[in-house]
């Protein structure tokens, strides 16, 4: 594992980003010059154009394109699309960035072309993002950063970041933050990593992360702890993906035993989601495995009286997964697990293990689980 110097100037990837934007603009200009109606081809983002690629292990955007041709009806959104691409170009050139909200406000100076509300600017941004994804570029590389940063990280990991002056680098030792933790920044594209850990443990709740971190669980287990905080944000997903790719680490996911934990948190982390399929190639973590809490754990660890009945929403979510979700349908073990959960009619939280003592999870549950990785769900 090596450390590359961070760079405020144009990196390769920045040059590719600029090239994509400029080529779109050049095609528009050429069409106008030729006396034709200019158009921009954008991938369709609707669910109809999403498919689950079993080999790659994630949801992917299909081939369908929508052509945004400049007409009276589309004049406004056409102009907005181009202007937002111009903003992106400027941000790359300046080494700066903007949140979605900031981009919305930057457009306030566009006069009649300004966005009515942020939903409007977000939709245009999603179009541009989908376009960029065709060239393997993420929205972060277009320099539009999400509003929220990522979760907390702790354990035997050194993050290598850019310093304040060009060329300078900073190293953050995630094992040296005491009871605190490293907070994943909004964009992680420029980070480098160095670690001797053997795995990444992605944890649903802040409370469980805190327990494992405060008891330095990462030291014994030699794993990196990442707090997901519910459905992981873009930054968290990309961080785990990049860390697991760069350092070739397996990812173990530790969530509540309920359809939300399976289908919303784990499935999103691993294969992405249908309505944001254009970002899957960069954001999903195909090598993630599900450590627990599994429906079988409820029986094995006698958690029956620490469970709660499944709500209607839970049940609906579980049935949806069985009926419609290509990921779960493809894995017989997941189908069996979800069916057994439905049959038990209950859900169990990570904290349910506290029934056997607060540190049972550290002393018994996780060591046993980690010792038998075949028990993980795919």
């Amino acid at each position: 594992m090596t450390v590359q110097p961070a760079n405020h100037g144009a990196t390769d990837i920045d040059r590719r980003t600029l090239a994509v934007i400029e080529s779109v603009a050049r095609q528009v200009a050429a069409a106008i010059a030729a006396g034709e109606l200019p158009e921009i081809a954008l991938p369709r983002r609707g669910l109809a154009n999403v498919r689950y690629d079993a080999d790659k292990g994630y949801f992917e955007l299909g081939e369908a394109r929508k052509t945004r041709r400049l007409t009276a009806g589309t004049a406004r959104i056409f102009a907005q699309t181009l202007r937002l691409m111009a903003v992106s170009r400027q941000l790359v050139a300046d080494g700066d960035f903007a949140t979605k909200r900031e981009a919305y406000y930057v457009a306030k100076n566009w006069g009649v072309c300004r966005f009515g509300d942020q939903a409007e600017s977000d939709a245009v941004m999603d179009d541009i993002e989908a376009l960029a994804s065709m060239y393997g570029l993420s929205r972060e590389q277009l320099r539009f950063h999400p509003e929220s940063h990522g979760g907390a990280v702790a354990g035997p990991l050194t993050v290598i970041d850019r310093g304040a002056v060009p060329g300078e680098t900073i190293e953050i030792d995630c094992a040296a933050l005491g009871s605190g933790a490293y907070s994943i920044p909004h964009s992680v594209e420029h980070l480098q990593f160095r670690t001797k850990a053997r795995f990444i443990l992605a944890i649903e709740t802040g409370g469980m992360f805190q327990r494992l971190n405060n008891h330095r669980f990462w030291r014994e287990a030699n794993g990196i702890l990442v707090e997901l905080g519910g459905v992981p944000t873009r930054a968290t997903r990309r961080f785990i993906r990049r860390l697991s790719d760069d350092c070739r680490l397996p990812v173990y996911c530790f969530t509540d035993c309920d359809p939300y934990g399976f289908a919303n948190i784990y499935r999103t982390l691993k294969v992405g989601s249908g309505n944001a399929a254009h970002i899957s190639p960069l954001f999903c973590v195909p090598k993630a495995r599900f450590l627990g809490v599994t429906p079988k754990d409820i029986v094995d660890y006698d958690l029956g009286d620490a469970t709660h009945p499944l709500s209607r929403v839970d049940e609906k979510r579980a049935r949806d997964a069985l009926a419609n979700d290509p990921f779960f349908r493809r894995h017989r073990r997941w189908v069996a697990a979800i069916e057994s959960l439905l049959k038990m009619g209950v859900r169990a939280e990570q904290q349910a293990l506290a029934k056997w003592g607060l540190n049972y999870v550290i002393e018994k549950y996780l060591p046993r689980k980690l010792a038998d990785r075949r028990s993980f769900l795919p």
């Binding site: 528009v28 034709e36 566009w110 009649v112 509300d117």
Partner: protein, 554 residues
């Protein structure tokens, strides 16, 4: 009989107590059935009965109606006076017309008229008599007679018979006409259920009528006629065979004067000629022939005959027995009394329920001039909502209303406005069962559409089936519901076309300006990305404009 003496009588004693009940006594006890259930409603009902009678009389006599309504306070009571320029009433009939329930010229006829049961005006008199103890006061003069007759009439309820108190002749400045005065306990109110509202709606459906009102405060309102000819007089018809029930047919057969079955069918029914009669008889087959003697036809054969009638194709009833308002007059009436941006009217072809021809007319008046209605593409839902919140609440009688209020539904039966019991009426039912969303209006589930619109519906029939004798709501016969819906849907489609056209016009306008607005921004973006100069940007925008103009022309 002493009070409280309760021993068990024998069947003979019980028989001795049986008595006939006069219809007046019945309705006196059940006066809410006739529309006298509250003091304010009693006033409207009284005016309505008198005005309806006056209009019927004028039209039948071929006179353009001119009617004055005066309401004044008399102590705790109200005096209602209605005066018309009609043909007047023959003196000998005045008593029975005003002093006997179920007496009239229209009940046994199949012919469209406002009054039909011979009940209304006598009931008003009876109500006055009950609440103030005073008889009705009538003045009537027939054209050509030297003087008018003046009578005071009350009802002997135990015998349902007129009781004439005073009678004299006097000079009257009217050449002909009738004036009715009745004093009743009542309350004069304004709003949608008012005398004024009744008169205004009458004026809409009857543009050939002039109406004047003087209310208890001396305020005068006049609704001037805008059409100078009378509507055609509806004629009388015989019943249509498809509406006759088995028992009725048996009765008709046994009462028949005709000597053969064929003759009977031809004479008793509308739309049955020799050919149709033979077709019916053939279908009835065994035991019946064209020459069977009607009075001798037995129950079993009558049953077959009845089935045969139902199975034979017979043309619909004659149309000239009905006098719809007519599209031209309806439009005139709407325009005269309601200020709107779009009008459409429709007179459906006559149809039949239970053997009675009827006809539906629909009129829509949409939008207020100078107050744009369309909700198209300006601003978010939120903005629109707020604006709505801040609007002034409209007057209940405001026609048409606000765009977030239900349409104003004006219901008419034989040209008479129906003010009460809107929810119970077939017209309301039809209007709420239609999916107005497909015509571009908003509509809450199970309700009337929301729009600044007046929806006028008229049901004309030789016999309008009301849900009660107070004649406030039309009963929901499937045939009537069907016609109502078809009429409303047809007008709805025209409205939708208008709204679409209007919307399209606005859209085209918006598009033109849109192009001019956004093109420079395409130029700016290209300039920023491609780092071109201002001149090249201008050229690009101009070229783009040219491309677009060319495209739009094709």
């Amino acid at each position: 009989m002493p009070e409280g003496d309760a021993t068990h009588p024998t069947a003979f004693e019980m028989a001795a107590r049986q008595r006939a009940i006069s219809v007046s006594e019945f309705f006196l006890k059940n006066r809410h059935l006739l529309g006298f259930d509250s003091q304010s409603k009693a006033v409207v009902t009284t005016v309505r009965e008198a005005v309806d009678n006056a209009l019927d009389a004028c039209e039948e006599a071929g006179i353009l109606p001119e009617i004055a309504v005066e309401i004044s306070r008399r102590g705790a009571a109200l005096r209602v006076a209605v005066e018309d320029n009609g043909p007047g009433i023959v003196e000998g009939q005045i008593g029975r017309i005003f002093g006997k329930l179920l007496y009239g010229s229209r009940f046994h006829k199949l012919s469209q008229s406002r009054g039909q049961q011979g009940m209304g005006i006598s009931a008003a008199g009876m109500y006055g008599q009950l609440t103030t103890g005073l008889p009705m006061h009538i003045i009537s003069r027939i054209a050509g007679e030297a003087q008018a007759a003046e009578l005071h009439v009350s009802i002997d309820t135990s015998r349902n018979r007129p009781d004439i108190h005073r009678k004299r002749h006097l000079d009257w400045d009217r050449p002909h006409g009738t004036r009715v005065e009745v004093e009743i306990e009542g309350r004069y109110q304004r709003g949608p259920h008012s005398v004024e509202s009744y008169l205004k709606q009458t004026a809409i459906a009857n543009p050939h009528v002039t109406l004047a009102l003087r209310d208890p405060d001396g305020v005068e309102i006049r609704f001037q006629r805008s059409v100078e000819t009378l509507p055609p007089l509806p004629s009388e018809i015989r019943p249509h065979p498809h509406g006759v029930e088995l028992g009725q047919l048996i009765q008709m057969l046994s009462d028949a004067d005709a000597r053969t079955l064929r003759q009977f069918l031809e004479r008793a029914f509308s739309r049955v000629g020799r050919k149709t009669a033979d077709a019916i008889i053939e279908r009835a087959s065994a035991g019946l022939s064209a020459r069977s003697y009607p009075r001798r036809i037995a129950h079993a054969e009558a049953t077959r005959l009845h089935r045969a009638i139902a199975g034979t194709r017979i043309s619909g009833p004659r149309t000239d027995c009905l006098a719809p308002i007519g599209e031209e007059r309806l439009l005139e009436g709407l325009r005269k009394e309601i200020d709107a941006s779009f009008y459409t009217v429709l007179t459906r072809r006559p149809a039949v329920y239970r053997g009675n021809p009827f006809q539906v007319e629909v009129g829509l008046a949409h939008g207020k001039p100078g107050r744009p209605y369309l909700e198209a593409d300006d601003g978010s839902t939120r903005r629109r909502k707020r604006r709505g919140d801040r609007e002034q609440p409209a007057q209940a009688a405001d026609l048409p209303g606000r765009s977030d209020e239900p349409v104003r539904l004006l219901r008419f039966a034989n040209r008479v406005p129906l003010l009460y019991q809107q929810p119970a009426c077939a017209i309301t039912r039809a209007a709420t069962q239609i999916n107005w969303r497909s015509y571009g209006l908003r509509q809450p589930k199970g309700g009337l559409p929301l729009a600044p619109m007046v929806m006028l519906v008229h049901v004309a029939s030789v016999w309008v089936p009301f849900t009660s004798e107070s004649k406030e709501a039309v009963a929901s016969y499937p045939e009537i519901l069907r016609e109502l819906k078809l009429g409303l849907q047809d007008c709805g489609r025209r409205l939708a076309r208008y709204l679409r056209r209007d919307r399209a016009l606005r859209l085209a306008e918006a598009q033109r300006s849109r192009i001019e607005t956004y093109l420079p921004h395409v130029g700016i973006a290209l300039q920023e990305i491609l780092e071109i100069g201002d001149a090249e940007r201008e050229r690009t925008v101009a070229a783009l404009d040219a491309v677009l103009r060319r495209q739009r022309k094709i």
